[in-house]
């Protein structure tokens, strides 16, 4: 039994409504901050794609394998989203 059915009071409904509104604003702020991080992220991605060709990528625990240049994915034209 994860939850027990019950009736919500008006006060609880109002509290939830307020929290949902605030969460929407919080979400928009996060998206804006993450969009602003894009130039740094592009640099981090470039470094990652370089490292997995030289040091390797983790496949399990301490097992790593080097990725060949032909395996490196091509960046798609769509927007690079990290928050969904």
């Amino acid at each position: 039994m994860k939850s027990i059915p019950h009736k919500r009071s008006r006060e609880v409904e109002a509290w939830l409504k307020r929290e949902i509104t605030e969460q929407k604003a919080r979400y928009r702020k996060i998206v804006a901050e993450q969009d602003a991080l894009a130039p740094k992220r592009d640099k981090w991605v470039a470094e990652f794609l370089q490292r997995i060709q030289t040091r390797g990528t983790h496949v399990h625990f301490n097992m790593m394998r080097k990725v060949g240049p032909e395996e490196i994915p091509v960046r798609p034209k769509r927007k690079f989203r990290v928050v969904f």
Partner: protein
């Protein structure tokens, strides 16, 4: 709609405010970390003001409480930092007090926060699933036992494991100079809060002390790094499997489709069975509740998941 993707969010950036939810005593403050708009399930950082007192009572939702600083007493017993409680819906806990104050995390997993003063359990309570442990003093760090596993240097203490959903709650630490060079996503939602320390992810940058995320399924995260070490608490809503890869640009749809393709190859017989003859709402013989026809997304061979069933009437004997 379930909880949205909240990542990253640092609760140190916002002040505590009074928790005014009906039913709860005065003297508790909170910071909302994430909230499910449909059922009100949420995760909050909470502060019990010095002198806080709560009578014996229960919640309509399962909840988990983790004490970060200070201490609370439940009944006669004092619970300091690292104390963890898993309280199933309807289970009554004794009087809770915080004579000198405390901070912690409260996870209401299936419904909005609720408190009903009571000396006895609700008739539907599952008392046997109640758990209380001090995760700092009474448990030791272990390597993760997932396969494939996270890189060496990420250690866990499993606080709670749900045998039906395989959801689990865990402390985890990253040792200084931990690094993992791959990208991961899971079939489950996961959330985590940094009790202490800063870690880095290629998508989101640094997550410092007080950093939090709620991440729905199939969202890329990693590569990972941690310079000085991190102590955190995490929780999933179902089984966690590490789908590793190294393509930074895949999206949720591509990741989900890849996961489904992998199920097709890993469990071909089961995959085929589920996809034929309307077998997509199977019953677990170990559980006599939680599965009435129509309570799970399914179809009748026509692929139409969006449909409803009338309530079945019991025949009079």
């Amino acid at each position: 709609m379930a909880r949205p993707h909240i990542e990253p969010f640092v609760d140190r950036d916002v002040p505590f405010r009074k928790f005014t939810m009906p039913g709860f005593p005065k003297g508790m403050q909170y910071k909302m970390l994430s909230l499910d708009p449909d059922n009100g399930a949420c995760t909050m950082t909470v502060m019990f003001e010095p002198g806080y007192r709560q009578p014996p009572g229960m919640s309509y939702s399962e909840y988990e409480l983790f004490i970060m600083t200070g201490s609370v007493t439940v009944g006669d017993k004092v619970h300091g930092p690292g104390s963890y409680f898993m309280v199933p819906a309807g289970v009554t806990i004794g009087a809770l007090a915080a004579p000198r104050g405390a901070t912690g995390l409260l996870f209401y997993n299936y419904g909005e926060p609720s408190f009903v003063e009571s000396d006895s359990d609700h008739p539907r309570a599952e008392r046997n699933k109640f758990a209380a442990v001090n995760a700092y003093d009474d448990m030791q760090w272990t390597s993760t036992n997932f396969f494939p596993a996270t890189a060496p240097g990420c250690l866990v203490k499993v606080l709670h494991f749900d045998e039906r959903t395989q959801a689990f709650t865990f402390l985890y630490c990253m040792t200084p100079n931990f690094w993992q060079d791959n990208i991961s996503y899971h079939d489950c939602a996961e959330e985590a809060y940094h009790i202490w320390g800063t870690s880095w992810m290629m998508q989101f940058g640094d997550l410092p002390t007080g950093g939090y995320f709620y991440r729905p399924p199939y969202i890329n995260h990693g590569a990972f790094g941690c310079k000085l070490g991190t102590l955190a608490i995490g929780r999933t809503d179902s089984r966690l499997y590490n789908h590793f890869h190294f393509n930074p640009w895949t999206n949720i749809e591509e990741n989900r489709e890849r996961a489904a393709n992998r199920i097709q190859h890993w469990m071909p017989d089961l995959y085929k069975w589920i996809n034929t003859h309307g077998h997509n709402h199977p019953v677990d013989f170990e559980f006599d509740h939680g599965h009435a026809h129509g309570d799970m997304a399914h179809h009748h061979g026509d692929g139409r998941v969006e449909h409803s069933h009338k309530k079945q009437r019991r025949r009079k004997k």
